[in-house]
């Protein structure tokens, strides 16, 4: 708007920024200094052929892209994210439907219960899952007392156990955007569906679900990004048996001290996650039209 105004005046050459722009300076500097800067640095580090970073080249990239082991790690990481997203979508949508059918008081109680885990450290929540999933844990105690299995089920250090605990840990990230979208659904629309003779199931899948898609997409983005990068949960529940990209980065950077290779894996993780996120939001746009 200031551009057209100054052109109209014809006095100044440069378009005058509107008055609030200095407010973005602190955040902008922080962003450039501590996000863009390190990112560029990371890219620069990744193009070195040796651990001491004396020779520049693409050897590390060749090593990463040429080894099927690392491709498998990328695939496992993506699949971990996809499975966690799938589980949180199902759990989140069911919770959302219950949320919709509740009155305002129960709703605020539900919101409180959803936000509550966020107040606890991820480490604490992860260790809680060890107690639940371990050989002498709650689940195995129940399974063995009921005589469903003679030996304890192996849940720790398996992908299943990790997906279950990640789904619980990341569920608030799904629920918060999802519930705000679902709460905006006009209750008359649900009444209309009911009055037109639709069963609860039809209303749920033909009306509530399609109208919840924007919330599910937003939640999926957060859960995917967060669960693929969940280094603590991946290492604690996976216990070193399950190898995902964050673990590889940690090993290369802090155990092997191969910084260029750690930088390559980091950038690969970033690109992979960004790629999947773009795909999810493209799907969301497709569903909306």
């Amino acid at each position: 708007m200031s551009l057209t105004a100054t052109q109209g005046e014809g006095a100044r050459r440069l378009p005058r920024l509107s008055g609030d722009w200095p407010l973005i300076v602190p955040m902008g500097l922080l962003f450039i200094g501590f996000f863009c800067g390190p990112l560029v640095l990371l890219l620069w580090v990744s193009f070195h052929n040796d651990q001491n970073m004396e020779v520049t080249g693409v050897a590390m990239w060749a090593r990463f892209l040429g080894d099927p082991f690392y491709w498998n790690v990328v695939l496992d990481t993506v699949m971990l994210g996809v499975k966690t997203v799938a589980l949180t979508v199902v759990l989140g949508f069911c919770t959302g439907v219950i949320y919709l059918s509740c009155g305002p008081r129960v709703r605020s109680l539900m919101l409180f219960a959803i936000v509550l885990p966020l107040l606890l450290s991820v480490v604490v929540r992860t260790f809680a899952w060890i107690v639940i999933l371990g050989n002498e844990g709650l689940v195995n105690w129940a399974v063995m007392s009921l005589g469903l299995s003679a030996a304890p089920l192996r849940l720790l250090q398996t992908e299943l156990g990790l997906v279950i605990s990640l789904a619980q840990i990341e569920l608030p990230l799904m629920l918060l955007p999802l519930l705000s979208v679902m709460a905006r659904i006009d209750p008359n629309i649900l009444d209309a569906s009911h009055a037109l003779g639709a069963s609860r199931w039809r209303t749920m899948f033909r009306v509530i679900l399609p109208l919840s898609v924007p919330g599910l997409i937003a939640g999926s983005l957060l859960v995917f990004a967060s669960s693929t990068a969940a280094f603590i949960s991946q290492s604690v529940i996976g216990g070193g048996r399950l190898i995902y990209m964050p673990l590889v980065i940690w090993q290369q950077a802090l155990v092997v001290y191969d910084w260029p290779f750690a930088a390559v894996v980091s950038i690969a993780l970033l690109v992979t996650v960004l790629g999947i996120l773009t795909l999810i939001s493209a799907l969301g746009r497709l569903a909306r039209t």
Binding site: N188, I189, D191, A192, H194, A195, L196, G197, P210, L211
Partner: protein, 386 residues
């Protein structure tokens, strides 16, 4: 259930020797009767409906009219089956439907904001009820085409609701409600979101459709003109009760309670004291001066009453006389072919008067006299305590 089946049955009877004219004695009606019997409903401690009874004939349009919070929407939701009322019965075509879910009552609903499914096309919206009833693809397609034709929206079948204007959305909402071929149509403030010109068009169109299809309809509205123009009978509601149920003319000309009188149309309330009661009515001494005889009972001699007179039932005289009370004119506003006079009586009450503008010279500032026109039908109510 088909609208044409009644007609088809009449024309495809066994061939008679004499050709009989195929004129049905009555239009094919498929409207259901609706009986609301002593229904009450409370939200917590608040009594939203208090012992409401209402019988609606097949093919009749009844408007539930009242201010917000009077219980009209609660009553609509009880009839629709969205609310389980605390006491009483609702019957459709004589059968109790209290335990019948909303979708199986044979009732179509048009919501105030239309409540169209935003993610579906116009066709999908209209076909939704039929799909929910498990009709075949072919049946759904035919019905959708037919009802879009009825509301003149065939050209918009593939559009999404957000690509339509308010009036068009309303037509779609109507087609969606009609597509399940209900016996009763419920309309919740259907015209509230439309601008004034479009509102009248849609009212006429709705009335024509309802008549052609022989539908029973319940219209919830706070707009009295809308209730008057569309409905056969009007139920004026206040505080969870039906204050008066009657034709628009009855409700306007012979309001039974002070609330109905004040809510419907505009009226002047003149305070007075009963002087005598007789076979012709009640004689009242107005505080403004003058003595009127009004049909109806206002109480024994000496009791305080309010006499209600419509602005168009008053006239101006320039000399004192029988039944006239003195007024001064504060303002004269030309409104179309009429002029509205803002008068003040000697006890300070405001009186509005409407008269034809043609031929009447503007009123001066001096003393004038006001009285009832010969055809006036004033109403009398006991003055509320306090």
């Amino acid at each position: 259930m088909n609208a044409h089946s009644g007609l088809a049955a009449q024309t495809s009877g066994p061939p008679d020797a004499r050709p009989t004219p195929a004129v049905p004695t009555e239009p094919a009606r498929r409207g259901a009767t609706l009986d609301v019997e002593r229904v009450s409903h409370s939200y917590g401690g608040f009594r939203a409906l208090d012992d409401v009874s209402l019988s609606v004939k097949a093919g009749e349009v009844v408007a539930l009219l009242g201010p917000s919070g009077c219980g009209k929407t609660t009553l609509l939701r009880v009839i629709a089956g969205f609310l389980n009322h605390t006491e009483g019965n609702v019957r459709v075509d004589g059968a109790p439907v209290d335990r019948v879910p909303a979708g199986r009552r044979g009732i179509g609903i048009v919501f105030q904001n239309y409540a169209l499914f935003p993610h579906m096309s116009v066709s999908q919206n209209v076909g939704y009820g039929l799909a929910a009833r498990g009709r075949s693809r072919r049946q759904i397609k035919d019905s959708v085409a037919r009802f879009l034709e009825v509301v003149q929206m065939s050209a918009f079948a593939r559009r999404r609701p957000r690509e339509l204007s308010g009036g068009q959305q309303q037509r779609v909402a109507l087609a969606r409600a009609l597509a399940i071929e209900p016996g009763i149509l419920l309309l919740d403030e259907p015209f509230a979101a439309l601008d004034k010109n479009l509102r009248l068009d849609m009212q006429i169109e709705l009335k024509r459709l309802q008549r052609d299809l022989g539908l029973t309809a319940i219209l919830v509205t706070h707009d009295q003109e809308e209730a008057m123009s569309v409905a056969d009978r009007v139920a004026v509601m206040n505080k969870g009760r039906i204050e008066q149920l009657g034709t628009p003319v009855e409700v306007y000309d012979r309001p039974e309670t002070l609330f109905v009188n004040s809510f419907i149309g505009s009226s002047n309330l003149l305070a007075g004291t009963v002087a005598a009661t007789g076979p012709t009515g009640t004689t009242v001494d107005l505080d403004a001066g003058g003595r009127l005889t009004v049909a109806g009972a206002g109480g024994p001699a000496g009791s305080r009453v309010l006499v209600s007179v419509r602005p168009e039932q008053l006239h101006i005289a320039h000399a004192p006389g029988e039944g006239l009370f003195p007024v001064t004119c504060r303002l004269e506003l030309p409104v179309g072919g009429n002029s509205v006079l803002d008068l003040q009586t000697r006890d300070g009450a405001d009186v509005k008067l409407v008269r034809l503008r043609a031929g009447a010279p503007p009123l001066g500032n001096g003393q004038h006299y006001c009285g009832l026109t010969p055809d006036a039908r004033p109403a009398i109510f006991p003055a509320p305590a306090g």
